[in-house]
């Protein structure tokens, strides 16, 4: 297994002054360390306010960490263009993440224009490829965000992320806002992309069922720290920390009720 990402002692401190005389409220994230191998899926679970989204943003480069390092290990032989971005992020509400005044084509086009040195023809070719990859049609090039269904928006969001040939995709609750059938389609699409492109996938979710189904490893976060980490089936079968036990038990209590009925 080739290692593609090495996160070491990543931390971020956010302090906000709430009043003139009150002490500032501080949230400390990390230090967080973990590695990732090619094609791996890592799930981050934990309660609200545990710092999961913040972790995702720091990983994707949207927020500069206070200390620590994120290292990508690229193999020399790969033919990836050097200017491609190794980590791309998908936001939770893909519907509101796209500029409503631009068509999907121009959004993708701009992304390429700003981030790569491809010429016009190459850009068009790349867009065509990417649309096909995520299961959209050539015509969706001309679609604005309001013209697309939930499922298509999700695919468009994936297209935006994938067009720069990332090695890793980070997603914040990618399934939470989706209806069951669109959710299954998205899960399948991600599995397929991982299989085809060897993508690493880091996602935050509170849906333990999906975490169990698609992730290889799980990180449990609480108060800005990773409190438990390990192979998904091991952590879910034998959670060590109280918080993990709670999360897992409450999920399985729901599943058990189903099992008792059928």
């Amino acid at each position: 297994m080739t290692k593609i990402l090495c996160v070491k002692d990543l931390s971020y401190t956010n302090s906000r002054k709430t009043g003139l005389f009150s002490a500032p409220r501080t949230f400390v994230l990390g230090p967080i360390s973990f590695d990732m191998v090619k094609g791996e899926t890592i799930a981050i679970i934990g309660n609200n306010g545990a710092g999961k989204s913040l972790t995702a943003k720091v990983l994707a480069g949207a927020i500069r960490p206070s200390s620590g390092s994120i290292t990508f290990i690229t193999d020399e032989t790969s033919q990836q263009s050097s200017h491609s971005h190794p980590i791309r992020m998908i936001l939770q509400h893909s519907s509101s993440a796209m500029n409503p005044a631009l068509s999907l084509g121009s959004v993708l086009h701009n992304t390429l224009k700003l981030n790569t040195r491809l010429d016009e023809a190459q850009r068009q070719e790349k867009i065509k490829e990417t649309l096909k990859l995520v299961g959209l049609l050539r015509d969706h090039y001309y679609y604005y965000s309001h013209m697309m269904s939930d499922g298509q928006q999700q695919r468009a969001a994936l297209a935006r992320a994938l067009i720069l040939d990332p090695k890793i995709i980070v997603a914040d609750e990618p399934f939470a806002a989706l209806d069951p059938s669109v959710r299954s389609q998205t899960v399948n699409l991600i599995l397929k992309l991982q299989h085809e492109l060897g993508l690493g996938f880091v996602f935050i979710s509170h849906n333990i069922g999906i975490v169990r189904h698609i992730s290889d490893r799980v990180l449990v976060m609480d108060k800005g720290q990773i409190i438990e980490a390990g192979r998904t089936e091991e952590v879910l079968a034998d959670p060590k920390e109280v918080l993990t036990q709670k999360l897992v038990q409450s999920h399985f209590s729901l599943v058990e009720r189903h099992a008792s009925l059928v």
């Binding site: 309660n47 389609q185 729901l254």
Partner: protein, 363 residues
């Protein structure tokens, strides 16, 4: 007698040139003390059903129903004032996204007190009355399992964590001691610990107060945990309904099956990372409703007959509307045209065709 009885509820929208049936013959009942799940994805019309019950649909939308009654009283024939009385005391709704139905600029204590009907405040003098209101409000919060009542009553809506705001919304809905609680997507986006807490609360209210609950959701884990019966909606049509147990065991409608398949936790035999079974495509929008069974274009079993709306059939309290139900190959009359249309034959589904619609509308 059913507390809430809905039969063939149809909602017409007059568009340019054509009339769309946003809901078509939705049928279900809610019995005293029952927890019924109304299941459907966005676009299934579940929120429209809720709005039809509470009378919140825009006036120019035409609602037709064979029955839409609360305790035998016809809701559609009531005047505004009568209907308002029922909504004020008998039926309470907890809407999606609790924080958007609260006033962001008013402290929660005040908002909760406001939801208490005047007749519950029996004291005479205003200082006594204020005190009594506060006590009732505190009691309500205790009832939903919130112990730090002072802290939350002095907060503004934006300061609430998701579980607390959901509980407060339920507390406010309970203020009028309703007979029916309609919970519209109450567990959406919650993580499992919070979800179990809210579900436990609803179950407790159901058991101790004999509160009937209409649980509107597509969260199948939550539904199987609390509901007694399920009604599944797809695209404005009732596709299947019955006891939770029998639907889980033996879904008869392909859509119900697809919904159940979408929950990986329900399939213990499922290999991790294997693709989930999912219907292709998405739920059509109101402008592009297919004729007949609206699942048609996405249904793996669709055949020629499906361009007619299937009528609702029933076996042992399990209702379904599908021409070719799963698990029941022999049921229904054999249609000679069936054999000519094997599954390999792709059937073209035309957009809504008024002529066909009328033909199939008799039952």
């Amino acid at each position: 007698m059913a507390l809430l009885d809905i039969k063939n509820l149809t909602l017409y929208l007059d568009g340019p040139g054509e009339t769309i049936k946003a809901l078509e013959k939705v049928t279900f009942t809610l019995q005293e003390g029952e927890i019924k799940a109304l299941v459907g994805e966005s676009g299934s019309g579940k929120t429209l059903v809720v709005k039809a019950i509470i009378g919140a649909l825009p006036e120019h939308w035409r609602v037709k129903a064979d029955r839409l009654t609360y305790k035998g009283q016809d809701l559609l024939k009531m005047n505004y004032e009568q209907r308002r009385q029922i909504m004020r005391r008998e039926i309470a709704v907890v809407f999606q996204e609790p924080t958007s139905s609260l006033d962001p600029s008013v402290k929660l204590g005040e908002q909760i007190q406001e939801s208490i009907p005047d007749e519950f405040v029996t004291k005479k003098w205003f200082w006594e009355r204020n005190k009594q209101r506060k006590e009732i409000a505190t009691g309500l919060l205790h009832k939903v399992g919130i112990r730090e009542h002072d802290r939350w009553m002095n907060s503004y809506p934006y300061q609430l964590p998701a579980d607390v705001s959901q509980k407060i919304m339920i507390a406010m809905a309970l203020a009028s001691e309703p007979r029916i609680l309609i919970a519209d997507d109450s567990t959406r986006g919650m993580e499992s610990t919070t979800k179990t807490q809210v579900l436990k609360l609803l179950l407790k209210l159901n058991k101790t107060k004999n509160l009937s609950i209409l649980f509107v959701s597509h969260d199948l884990l939550a539904i199987t945990t609390i509901a007694d019966t399920i009604t599944v909606l797809y695209c404005g049509q009732t596709v299947e309904s019955g006891k939770v147990k029998s639907l889980l065991k033996r879904p008869l409608h392909p859509y119900t099956k697809a919904l159940l398949d979408s929950v990986p936790s329900f399939q213990s035999a499922l290999k991790t990372k294997s693709p989930l079974t999912a219907l292709s495509g998405t739920i059509p929008s109101l402008q592009h409703l297919p004729a007949g069974c609206r699942l048609g274009p996405r249904c793996p079993n669709a055949r020629k007959k499906c361009v007619q709306v299937p009528i609702m059939r029933s076996i042992q309290g399990h209702n379904y509307s599908c021409h070719y139900p799963l698990h029941l190959p022999k049921a229904g009359k054999k249609d000679p045209t069936d054999d000519k249309f094997g599954e390999q034959d792709p059937i073209k589904f035309n957009l809504i065709n008024p002529a066909l619609e009328e033909d199939s509308a008799d039952d």
